[in-house]
């Protein structure tokens, strides 16, 4: 961890045996030291036996290394039953000769010491079990039990030293478990003998919430993560979750994730949110955060993208049912394997644990979109809370996953005093606000910010109906911003005004028509007059011509007559 770059070049790399425990191999850069004993210690109930069993089972099933489990506490049947809940079929592995279990019963009352002895019997048993299946791995759980069965501590210590030497000589990768003692790692100081690798498991309770943690106390000859890492034991086995603090150098995506809510996409300059960004949806309860998320998830799944939702206040089924009321069918996506709900009460784990669990689930499911609903449900000391949220955001950004967080707090804050600025971690912030006016509430939506894109600054009213979410332009006019019924009233009034205006218009149009027609008529009459006058004129002209002609002929006759007289 200290010098991550320098390590791969170092030539004499210590050979390591992978445990197959998720995360642990990453923290130790490969697993436990191969061919050597490692000590796994911790107080009762912290998962030592499970850790060791997982190491053996994974060795047998994944890495082709059979293993011997030498149990000093649990009987073989109990051991098989205990790990069956994790899906480990020890009986099957035993039948196939991949695992051998030897229960060593140490009963003080049955043992009478009558002189010198050694523990050669233990060596013979172990050697026989190892040889019978060709084991490469062994587990001794918990060898300190021997101290309760034999009184000669000097002999025991000498024999233990011999045993660990024997393990090294045989090249066996071993896990020795030890109970946590006061003032030292184990009750009998086993760390004195097993010094190559020591792993400490811890189970701490804070505010009534348990968090399991793991720390590699030492690892001779190898770099290792030095932090305390939370680890998880559940139906999927044991997983260590190194939540590394990411740097701010994630790849940035230009792709856009449409929200599937028409009006909302239109408010965002890019037609949606940038992929890989963190989006905060804040609003008090009942403002519709979950339904906004459901709509976005539905749209993403409909495009064939994978979505993982961490919900803290409702179960996945409940959300799916509720979403059906707005016409969004999430159940089909769950069935298709595109959508998974991970529901847990916030108080179920500590913050580290929640974060760790998320990381594991995210890495397994490989989603394109992650929903955390609501983020504000996580509780814890403010400093820890902020660090957790920061790392959660980094975790998602580092993987290029678009994240949708909801927060119950209107101001986007988190924590008891609200002085944890959540909004500055987010790339986009949608604020849902219930506006109360005229005795009713209506839902409004603002885009407070959307980094890297232009966005509408206007408030929108959003409606939930059987056909989904839709955004309505809120009334913004001389009377201010109106929503709900007030908006409807205002709209009706505007419609009436509009109607009146249109009617008036039509009336004036008709008037103009009439006047035009009357003018047309007058023109027609005048034209008729004009024609009459023209006709008259023509007649008069004709008469004139005829009179002229008559006069002319008369004059000619007269002239002829005068000429005759001459």
């Amino acid at each position: 961890m200290n010098e991550p770059q320098a390590q791969p070049d170092a030539p004499p790399a210590l050979p390591k045996a992978a445990t197959g425990i998720e995360g642990f191999d990453a923290v130790t850069f490969g697993g436990l030291p191969a061919g050597r004993p490692s000590l796994v210690c911790g107080s009762a109930g912290c998962g030592k036996t499970l850790f060791a069993t997982t190491f053996l089972v994974n060795g047998a099933t994944r890495y082709g290394e059979p293993g011997v489990f030498m149990s000093f506490e649990e009987r073989a049947e109990d051991l098989v039953a205990n790990v069956a809940s994790l899906g480990y079929d020890l009986d099957g592995l035993i039948a196939k000769g991949k695992i051998a279990i030897d229960h060593v019963r140490v009963e003080r009352s049955e043992i009478e010491e009558t002189g010198d002895y050694d523990l050669e019997g233990l060596f013979i048993r172990l050697g026989f079990a190892v040889d019978s299946i060709g084991a490469k791995r062994i587990v001794l759980d918990t060898i300190e039990t021997l101290f309760s069965g034999f009184s000669d501590e000097a002999v025991l210590r000498a024999e233990l030293r011999r045993l660990f030497g024997w393990i090294k000589d045989r090249g066996l990768t071993a896990i020795i478990t030890g109970e946590r003692g006061t003032g030292q790692l184990t009750r009998q100081g086993l760390e004195e003998y097993v010094s190559d690798c020591v792993v400490l498991l811890d189970n701490r309770v804070e505010d009534q919430i348990t968090t399991r943690r793991l720390r590699v106390v030492k690892y001779r000859g190898s770099p290792h993560g030095t932090n305390e890492y939370p680890f998880l034991i559940d139906a999927e086995g044991i997983s260590v979750l190194p939540v590394t603090s990411a740097d701010l150098d994630y790849p940035v995506s230009e792709g856009v994730l449409p929200t599937g809510i028409d009006g909302l996409d239109a408010m965002l300059g890019a037609g949606g949110f940038y992929r890989g960004s963190g989006i905060l949806v804040s609003g008090e309860s009942g403002t519709g955060k979950t339904m906004v998320c459901a709509s976005i998830v539905d749209a993403a799944c409909a495009r064939g993208e994978r979505c993982l939702a961490f919900v803290f206040e409702e179960s996945g089924e409940q959300i799916a049912r509720n979403a059906r009321s707005i016409g969004v069918d999430l159940a089909r996506h769950v069935e298709a394997g595109l959508l998974r709900y991970e529901a847990a009460r916030p108080s179920l784990y500590g913050l580290e644990m929640h974060l760790a669990r998320m990381q594991r689930d995210i890495d397994r499911f490989a989603p394109d979109l992650v929903v955390v609903d609501p983020l504000s449900a996580l509780r814890g000391p403010d400093a820890e809370l902020q660090a957790t949220v920061l790392r959660m955001a980094d975790l998602l950004k580092g993987r290029g996953i678009t994240a949708l967080f909801t927060s119950l707090r209107e101001d986007g804050g988190l924590g008891r005093d609200g002085d944890i600025g959540l909004s500055s971690l987010m790339d986009a912030w949608i604020k849902l606000l219930n506006v109360e006016a005229n005795g009713e509430r209506s839902r409004t939506l603002y885009v407070i910010k959307a980094r890297g894109m232009s966005h509408s600054n206007q408030v929108r009213e959003f409606m939930m109906s059987g056909s989904g979410l839709s955004l309505v332009d809120a009334y913004v006019g001389p009377a201010g911003v109106l929503t709900g019924t007030a908006r409807a009233v205002q709209e009706a009034e505007e419609a009436a005004q509009d109607l009146r205006r249109r009617q008036e218009n039509r009336r004036r149009q008709r008037e103009a028509e009439r006047r035009r027609r009357s003018l047309d008529r007058q023109i027609e009459e005048l034209r008729a007059d004009l024609e009459a006058v023209a006709e008259e004129e023509a007649i008069l002209l004709d008469e004139d011509e005829r009179r002229e002609a008559a006069l002319l002929s008369e004059r000619r006759v007269l002239a002829v007559r005068r000429g005759g007289e001459r």
Binding site: E77, E113, Y117, L119, E120, G121, L146, F150
Partner: protein, 122 residues
């Protein structure tokens, strides 16, 4: 590994009041040889004529170690009379061997007047 620890070793033997002892050793070590010598001497002294000793060398038969839950070497197991008893060490402390095998010297020295018969097992 088999978890049959106590049963099979006893059920096939007749409970005729004889001491059936089994000594587990690992090779011819000094402790093993001492234990064998001590056991022989002890039996002749206290259980003359009514004992059987079986010596098992785990170096030759390592598979037998798990069955009788052997850890320490040498281990002496009293298979009969019941209940099963385990004594570890080279048997050099005679008093402790007597306690471990549950033998009361005064009674056992007179074979006919053996103490109250032990509960017979089928």
């Amino acid at each position: 590994m088999s978890e049959t620890e106590i049963d099979l070793t006893q059920s096939d033997l007749p409970d005729d009041g004889r001491y059936r002892l089994r000594l587990y050793v690992a090779g011819q070590t000094a402790k093993s040889l001492a234990a064998m010598a001590n056991l022989r001497r002890f039996c002749e002294e206290h259980l003359a004529g009514r004992y059987e000793i079986e010596v098992i060398d785990l170096m030759q038969n390592p598979q037998l170690a798990a069955g009788d839950q052997i850890l320490a070497i040498p281990t002496l197991v009293r298979r009969l009379p019941a209940p099963l008893k385990r004594i570890i060490g080279d048997l050099s402390n005679t008093e402790k061997v007597l306690v471990g095998l549950d033998i009361r010297p005064d009674l056992d020295r007179a074979p006919p007047a053996k103490g109250p018969p032990e509960a017979d097992r089928p």
